[in-house]
């Protein structure tokens, strides 16, 4: 009798939660949901229209996200995954865990075709330097290698920018990539596990340049009123990172998930992304880019491997990088 009462009580307690607003679970990387990331504003904005509750679940960076999706498999509680990049999408598609999504209009400088993912922001990898310390920045990998400038880069085995750099050199130089790495070896002071350590070392003056994004100087300019940082423009072109979002096939909130993806690429969310992620919007909002973005370096050429090429190139390119730098 007691158990029955108890059970009835539990059902009663639980039912409002069930009957209440639906919950959309968004799996994303750490910094997306932080106080300074796009998460809080996007959550608020979407909740105002969807009549639902947005719940973020976080996992490290883009690579860790994919590992988490694989770890959880088909019984994942997440509906939407935000923050993979095109170097990971082939791998992600191969899991069969992602559902096709409707494509959204974008203003990317390269054509984007992927039935399972929509881009939400993007940027060019670049070496960032301090204008007061480096008067004439190198204009190519070759010039960088020939200079005695010290750079700090990220490890491609543990960070997405590190992987981006390895693919950048591969995309620009193909079979000659090992030679470029060998020439760059004496310029690389150290390799860090992630972007934060590298950027921290650079701002502390331990290196002249750091692998980051062409949009990094915009943060310093707009948020700190500091115009001393700039990105070097390389004549080989700059490799792109396109961040994408997708919907899990196992989602119970398929309609909400589609609405969220549409919201993510609409003006309101796109404006938020520019000055929180400090990347270019996937679709430039009606009011344009914030003042200061016009000062950023415009690469002469956009480099990007297709998802399939990136997937195939990844392991051999990392091995080349490792061999050249281990000498």
């Amino acid at each position: 009798m007691t158990t029955k009462l108890l059970a009835a009580g539990l059902v009663f307690l639980a039912s409002p939660a069930l009957a209440d607003t639906p919950v959309l679970t968004v799996l994303t990387y750490d910094s997306f949901t932080s106080e300074w990331g796009p998460g809080p504003a996007i959550e608020k904005g979407f909740e105002a229209t969807c009549g639902c509750d947005v719940k973020f679940v976080t996992a490290g960076d883009g690579a860790a996200l994919l590992a988490r999706v694989k770890l959880e498999g088909t019984d994942s509680k997440a509906d939407v995954v935000v923050g993979l990049d095109t170097n990971l999408t082939a791998d992600a598609t191969a899991t069969g865990l992602f559902a096709p999504v409707a494509s959204q209009p974008n203003t990317l400088p390269v054509p984007f075709q992927d039935p399972n993912f929509i881009p939400f922001d993007w940027g060019y990898f670049a070496f960032v330097y301090d204008k007061t310390k480096v008067a004439t920045p190198p204009a190519s990998f070759a010039e960088l290698a020939a200079s005695d400038l010290k750079v700090v880069i990220e490890d491609p085995r543990s960070s997405t920018p590190g992987l981006g750099l390895v693919l950048w050199v591969k995309a620009a130089y193909g079979d000659k990539a090992p030679q470029i790495w060998a020439d760059l070896a004496d310029n690389i002071v150290t390799v860090t596990p992630g972007w934060s350590e590298a950027y921290g070392m650079f701002t502390e003056g331990q290196a002249d340049m750091v692998l980051s994004y062409t949009t990094s100087p915009a943060y310093h300019l707009i948020a700190e009123n500091d115009d001393t940082k700039a990105a070097a423009s390389f004549s080989e072109g700059h490799y792109m990172q396109i961040e994408v979002a997708g919907k899990l096939a196992s989602s119970q909130q398929s309609v909400l998930a589609d609405q969220f993806l549409a919201y993510l690429t609409a003006d309101a969310a796109q404006s938020v992304l520019i000055t929180t992620n400090w990347m270019y919007p996937a679709k430039t909002p009606a009011e344009g880019l914030p003042k200061g973005f016009e000062t950023l370096v415009q690469p002469v050429k956009s480099l990007l491997m297709s998802a399939r090429d990136a997937e195939a190139a990844r392991a051999p390119a990392i091995a080349e990088w490792q061999a050249a730098l281990s000498k």
Binding site: D30, S31, S34, G37, A67, L71, K77, P193, Q322
Partner: protein, 514 residues
Amino acid sequence: MASRAVEISPAFGLSLAIAALILGSAAMVAARAESFALAAQDWQALRFTVLQASLSAATSSLLAIPVARALFRRRFPWRGMLIRLLAAPFVLPVVVAVMGLLTVFGRGGPVNGALAWLGLPEVSIFGLHGVVLANVFFNMPLATRMLLHGWQSIPVERFRLAQSLGLPPSAQFRHLEAPMLRAQLPGIFAVILLICLASFAIALMLGGGPKASTLELAIYQSLRFEFDLGRAALLAAVQFALCAAITLAALGLTLPQGFGAGLGRRMAIAAPTGWRRGADGLAIAAAALFLFTPLLAVVSKGLPGLAALPNGLWPAVLRSVLVAVVSALLATSAALILAVGAARGKIRVIELAAMLPLAASSLVLGTGLFLMVRPFVTPETLALPITVLVNATLTLPYLFRLLLPEARQLEADYGRLTASLGLPRRTILRFVTLPRLARPLGYGAGLAAALSMGDLGVIALFAGDGGATLPLFVQHLIGAYRLQQAAAASLILVAISFALFWAFDRLGSHYADA
């Protein structure tokens, strides 16, 4: 015989639980693997891991001898403060400490400034020497403190006897100090070796390139980037085997010191004068300079940002302190049970189990636990309890190592007496064990609390929306380019870690001296 078996059971049971947790989580990862193969570069990583760890452990232990000896026999103002501050480097979060070291030893730092002034070329901190330097920075203070406990465990009466017999310092060293070092050093070397084996961020940040890859990085890569669970599980197995071999070797080399019981008094011993006084002073000054300049750098970098601290800081501080205190209490109780059990029996299983967490990769542990709890609950809801559990487990070996020599001594000195008196366990604990072990217990609990404060560890795997601990919060700040605020938050992290350590350590010494 039967009572004997009952007596060791809590420690034995706890050992089994720890082994189950560590090996079980690795097994969970292995169970999800599709194939098992190591990559070619994994062997190179293994070699580098062992090389940097052995160099670091040897340097740390050897440098600690003169410093600990000087601190033991000299009395000077601020001595107590200096000894407590010795723990500070050890409890710094790795990234914060590396930034501090870079400020001092890196480009444009005072060391290179002095070299330039002397007309010498700039020395880069990046490379194997930089990795060893950082590891010595972290672990030499720990070794010093452990050795100091060793010196303090020699009954004061033996020194007085030696002095009244007119033994010169060299003979005192041979008869009293050398046997103590012989008993303590293998254990200290082993524990530092094990700590350095599991480091990955230090080696990567200061190693200067992929040559300096460690096993832990390979585990990180295989779990996070390649999702090669088989390789991760194999690497974890290699790490376990290495750790077990080192632990067993250290145990085989450890001898009881056999000074017998003293009266437990604390008195100053007349220290040798002459050049020995100068040498001791030099050892203490050099150690203080090496350890505290990077700390000063951390403090001076953090100060400017203190004026504008971000909103989310204090909830994160609260969460971190809660996690740190609970896991410190948990780890201390577990370590006490294990150390007393290991000292009483001759069972190696307990010692192995207590050292096992040092070999555990927190990433494998976290992933294993994630897979374990997921069928039953949403992992995010367990973020803090699991962080407590993992932190307690990972800090257990340090505590155990600190307690074991003194627990052995206690057993050798009082074991038979208490047994023949037939004292109840609770009485022994209250009147013999706790007062005698108060000092290392307080110190150990302090270390555990501070280490838990600084540990990113598994929280990143479990953290949901807004449940960040302070180290994760610092990470978020850096990720958002807010480096000055990050430096200030790091300073707060360091200050709180150290305050926690200080409080526990004070409590221990207070109790011991009372």
